[in-house]
């Protein structure tokens, strides 16, 4: 049996979402000296971080600093990259997600991910896109799907725009709507952690603002880790910020502190725009 079994068996849908499942200071996810490699190349070097529940955590740093690779190690997507492997431990509620008995598919249901470009499934309707994550885990009851699809679309602030055309193809939506659809799809299976990899990088300013506002709502239910290129965005949306540079985590702390009184001069140089 999987280590994650007790949680994985919690398949009964939360018909009404509990406000906050945990107290704010509780650590939901923790990495212990995580290194991520592509073959012989080390992209992330021994990063130890803690992600408190119901907080937004921003990972910032210049291109190629390893922040996206690190993010992908948190739901075992990195190991799907060519020659991708990691060392160290990633703990979700105290359990090592790289443990030999952990099922990666079950894990990814608990740690969802939104990508840089909107990735709706083009052959599916809006409804089916949101329901996809539930159906693949064997939840097919129509009434349950209806409820979760509506809730998830509402959480993603998309319900009012699409409720009249749930059967339309997901490709009929605009880019910003598609990205919110992907957020709805990610939260539909009720994950514990939501990872966002530069979710607004391909969107216009208005759509970006909507998604940033959304993060404030989402963090009531989920623990959020967001990779962003945009320092203003990190400053606006996150509670804590970690600065990555050349594969190492240089500095981590409350966002206000990182942006006002960084301890490290590389951090200061980056946030003041002197490189990166």
């Amino acid at each position: 049996m999987s280590d994650l079994q007790p949680v994985a068996s919690r398949t009964a849908p939360p018909l009404v979402r509990a406000p906050a499942r945990t107290s704010a200071s509780e650590v939901r996810m923790e990495t212990v000296e995580v290194s991520a490699m592509y073959g012989k190349f080390t992209a992330v070097k021994e990063v130890s971080l803690r992600f408190a529940a119901n907080r937004v955590h921003a990972l910032i740093g210049p291109s190629g600093c390893g922040k996206s690779t690190f993010l992908r190690a948190l739901n075992r997507m990195h190991e799907l990259s060519e020659h991708g492997w990691i060392t160290g431990r990633v703990l979700l509620d105290g359990q090592d997600i790289y443990g030999s008995r952990v099922n990666a598919m079950q894990l990814r249901r608990r740690v969802g991910m939104v990508f840089q470009r909107p990735t709706p499934f083009p052959t599916m309707s809006i409804y089916d896109n949101v329901a996809a994550g539930l159906r693949v885990h064997g939840r097919h009851r129509r009434a349950e799907l209806d409820t979760v699809v509506e809730q998830s679309l509402q959480q993603a602030a998309l319900w009012d725009e699409v409720k009249e055309r749930l059967r339309a193809s997901a490709m009929t939506l605009s880019g910003g709507q598609q990205q919110r659809l992907c957020i709805a799809r990610t939260v539909a299976p009720s994950p514990d952690v939501v990872l966002l990899d530069e979710p607004t990088a391909s969107l216009d300013p208005q759509s970006t603002q909507r998604i940033e506002e959304l993060l404030f709502e989402l963090k009531r239910d989920y623990t959020i880790v967001i990779v962003t290129h945009n320092m203003q965005q990190a400053a606006r949306v996150s509670d804590t910020t970690s600065f990555f540079y050349m594969g190492t985590m240089v500095e981590s702390g409350p966002t206000r502190q990182i942006f006002t009184t960084p301890a490290d001069e590389q951090t200061e140089a980056y946030i003041t725009g002197r490189f990166g």
């Binding site: 990814r108 969802g112 991910m113 990508f115 083009p122 052959t123 693949v136």
Partner: protein, 281 residues
């Protein structure tokens, strides 16, 4: 010198050239179709579709035996060739780094370049010679071998066109690898795969050489795959090389029927797939 006028002139010249080249490319197709219709349509009648040939020297009769034969032989070839080609194509696209993929791809490319008559000889040596009689199934086997590399390569190329971000999105949602492949990746590119498969079916439906010494051909309506069987390309060949004027007209008509059969098959399959997977953009 009027700059804008020069640019407009060059533009018109290029558009004219490109249009001309397109016409040149379409011309043979139009010529074949028109010629077939002119020469063949006159001989088409209800009898032609419902009766077997009249004895040599007498007039009348039809090619129903060859229509049925082509449907059976091509159907059996597709039943073997499509699943193998599709599965191998999916494998090659999903495991591009594996040694087996490299080998499969290489073999498929060599096979794609092999003349069909060589494949016919191969089927003759392995099936006809060992069983000591000609059979429709031997013809189907030869056609299936021709079909597999075509289906394999188009399937692989189509799947490769699906952006990897879609695959990642499915995996990140907790999809197992096999469901990601089938219900997301293959499903997304299904219209392309169907088109590729139809092209392969159409190609083998017109093959004559491999059938000459496998299915052999027959004057009678037959449903037995272990016996010699008629097929439209063979009928065209027999009638076209025969001594009678009427046979030549039948050859044209048979060729027209062959094209109609292929057309009906592909249009039908495409309509069915479009109705089933209707999605925009």
């Amino acid at each position: 010198m009027n700059h804008r006028g020069l640019r407009r002139g060059v533009s018109n010249l290029m558009v004219g050239l490109v249009t001309g080249v397109v016409l040149v490319a379409l011309l043979p197709l139009a010529f074949i179709l028109v010629n077939l219709a002119l020469q063949g349509a006159g001989s088409l009648s209800l009898d032609f579709f419902t009766r077997t040939p009249a004895p040599a020297g007498e007039s009348g009769g039809g090619v129903v035996h060859a229509i049925v034969g082509t449907l059976i032989i091509v159907g059996a070839a597709s039943a073997i060739g499509l699943p193998v080609g599709l599965a191998a194509g999916i494998y090659c696209a999903e495991y591009p780094a594996s040694r087996l993929t490299w080998t499969t791809r290489f073999v498929a490319d060599v096979l794609n370049g092999t003349p069909s008559i060589v494949v016919g000889v191969f089927a003759w040596a392995w099936i006809v010679a060992t069983q000591r009689h000609f059979s429709a199934l031997a013809g189907s086997a030869a056609l299936a071998i021709l079909m597999i590399p075509m289906v394999l390569r188009t399937t692989e190329e189509m799947i490769k066109l699906v952006p990897s971000s879609l695959r990642e999105a499915a995996l990140a949602l907790g999809y197992p690898r096999w469901r990601t492949s089938l219900s997301i990746v293959v499903r997304t590119t299904l219209p392309g795969i169907v088109t590729g498969s139809l092209l392969a079916v159409a190609r083998i439906a017109g093959e004559t050489a491999p059938l000459l010494f496998t299915a052999l051909g027959s004057q009678y309506l037959s449903f037995r795959p272990d016996q010699p069987m008629a097929a439209l390309p063979l009928t065209v060949f027999t009638y076209a090389t025969g001594p009678y004027e009427e046979w030549h007209r039948y050859a044209w008509a048979s060729a027209l029927v062959l094209i109609l059969v292929v057309l009906v098959l592909s249009v039908g399959a495409r309509l069915a797939i479009r109705r089933r997977f209707d999605f925009h953009g």
